[in-house]
């Protein structure tokens, strides 16, 4: 589904990504781990179009996207979440979910002036979709609160819901459990597995090894911008280069 070939990204003299080859097969959950500053977020930014590779290619279902604008990539069915939550915090929870369905709508602003049939049907559909997601992520009772006022865990789940509202085929999750307690983390793992069972493909950055073991089919390990290992969670756990890369870090 997603193919990265020799993707490199230079920031001045800093090689944030170096000849990364990666494949995310359809309907699989692929993990991406690595020490702080390894280039994981940079990789997701490059796939989602917020940043572009210095060299190399990225293909989504055969289409090259390494030079595409973010909204074009979204329309190809790629959604993402952010390591530092980036909700539209001044808007309500519901509005956040309406906005991310933007590219599913067709009604123009003019149609909203005259309350055209298409406009009303579309607004109805958007709200129905949002209601389903609110329920799924246990956010129904918060629908009309400003997103910025929600507790941290709810904001994280709203980010997931918002990405899902895009109706994507591939989701890029950047540390979705950051700041969550073990119970919440496990719950989110269950949600991720459920998405896969419904046909979603997922690339997830994660520091929490228990989550990696809970959900991932395969794992890539990134260190100083290079892929240093690739395999099943079991293989990665026992890989000596990986253990070396993490040596000196005692939080896993």
């Amino acid at each position: 589904m997603l193919e990265l070939r020799q993707v490199s990204r230079l920031f001045g003299g800093l090689q944030a990504l170096s000849q990364v080859d990666m494949t995310v097969p359809a309907n699989k959950i692929v993990g991406l781990i690595g020490p702080n500053g390894a280039g994981k977020t940079t990789l997701i930014n490059n796939i989602s179009g917020l940043d572009h590779p210095t060299s190399g290619t990225i293909h989504m279902n055969g289409q090259p996207i390494q030079r595409a604008a973010p909204h074009q990539i979204t329309r190809l069915g790629i959604a993402r979440t952010y390591q530092n939550i980036r909700l539209f915090s001044e808007m309500t929870v519901l509005e956040n979910l309406l906005i991310s369905q933007h590219s599913q709508g067709k009604a123009s602003a003019l149609e909203s002036l005259i309350f055209s049939g298409r406009y009303r049907r579309e607004e109805q559909t958007l709200r129905e979709n949002a209601a389903v997601l609110l329920k799924r992520f246990n956010l129904e009772h918060l629908a009309h609160l400003r997103a910025g006022t929600l507790p941290y865990g709810d904001q994280r789940r709203l980010e997931m819901a918002r990405a899902l509202a895009i109706n994507p085929r591939l989701m890029l999750l950047d540390e979705p459990t950051a700041g969550m307690n073990p119970v919440e983390t496990h719950e989110l793992g269950t949600q991720i597995l459920r998405l896969r069972d419904e046909g979603m493909t997922i690339l997830v950055i994660e520091h929490d090894m228990s989550l990696i073991h809970q959900v991932c089919d395969e794992v890539y390990v990134l260190s100083f911008g290079q892929i240093i290992a690739h395999g099943t969670p079991e293989q990665i756990k026992n890989d000596t280069t990986v253990i070396e890369a993490y040596l000196g870090r005692e939080d896993e």
Partner: protein, 307 residues
């Protein structure tokens, strides 16, 4: 009208209030989309001169001049917006001020410039003298109807896909792009709409003020337009309307204070900006101010902290 006149607001003042409310709405559109553009005075100039030349020199009716002025402003906004809207914040402000100055100077030198191109003397903008004796075509009710239509359109816009995209771009442009919003398209469309609205206000104004000159559309007009929106607030479209009304009416209401009225006007503006940062139309701002005033008047600091 009698009531208005009793507090010093005559019909001409009311007309200026309505025009300034429309101008406030024109910059509201760009501000609401997170664009700090000061190009509105420039587009107002383009629209006004086009409209006036069409009605006065070509004998078109008011609506003809209105459409002509709006059309040309919109057509010019597209090639200006594409490069300029890549800039942000203060850089966008500076670039759009530059645009306004270019427009002003082009209008100032339009006649000799065009004359030298076509090879015979042409008189269209009359340089620094400006155009006078413009036909009196705008009625107060035209302005009222226009303001109501525009307000309705903007209110509906906020409830549409496009309007939600505008708000998303103001809050986080990158996240908005990741949600599938074509940021460049939305920004340019809004820039054009804003230009068209400023042009319309200019055409309508010229046809009751009856004289125009390039000096009317300089930096100070650009800042005045910004002040309408900032004083009124940009959290809802009602803000710029109130801001345009208040800033236009205040000098008239304060007329009895003669030489002090400029000072009082300035002090009120300052007070609002310092104590109501979200503008006049902003319930949260008033609530905060109320809390502060209560906290100060009761001599119990503990209560003030918990409140």
């Amino acid at each position: 009208m009698e009531l208005l006149r009793s507090i010093g607001i005559s019909e001409p003042v009311l007309q200026f209030m309505l025009i300034n409310a429309i101008l406030g709405l024109s910059i509201y559109l760009t501000l609401f989309t997170g664009m700090f553009s000061l190009a509105n005075a420039g587009f107002m100039a383009i629209g006004t001169y086009t409209g006036v030349i069409l009605t006065q020199q070509f004998g078109l009716p008011l609506w003809g001049g209105l459409i002509g002025g709006m059309l040309l402003a919109g057509l010019i906004a597209l090639p200006i917006g594409l490069p300029v809207l890549r800039l942000r914040d203060i850089y966008l402000a500076i670039a759009t001020i530059g645009f306004g100055e270019i427009v002003r100077i082009l209008i100032l030198n339009f006649d000799p410039l065009v004359s030298s191109i076509v090879g015979q003397p042409i008189k269209m903008t009359y340089g620094a003298l400006g155009i006078s004796g413009i036909p009196q075509l705008t009625q107060t009710w035209h302005l009222v109807v226009f303001l109501i239509i525009i307000s309705y359109c903007i209110a509906r816009l906020h409830r549409s896909r496009f309007g939600r995209a505008m708000a998303a771009i103001r809050q986080d442009e990158q996240a908005a792009a990741n949600m599938g919003i074509n940021v460049v398209y939305v920004k340019n469309m809004v820039f054009i709409l804003s230009a068209v609205l400023a042009a319309a206000a200019g055409v309508l104004k010229a046809h009751f003020a009856r004289t125009i000159d390039p000096g009317d559309y300089g930096f100070s007009q650009a800042v005045d337009i910004l002040a309408f929106a900032v004083l009124g607030g940009t959290t809802t479209f009602v803000g710029p309307i109130v801001g345009g009304f208040v800033l236009t009416a205040m000098p008239e209401i304060l007329r009895d204070f003669k030489q002090y009225r400029g000072i009082i006007n300035g002090v009120i503006l300052l007070l609002v900006i310092v104590y109501l940062p979200g503008g006049l139309v902003n319930p949260a701002g008033w609530a905060r101010l109320w809390q502060r005033l209560r906290g100060k008047s009761s001599f119990k600091p503990v209560e003030a902290e918990t409140g």
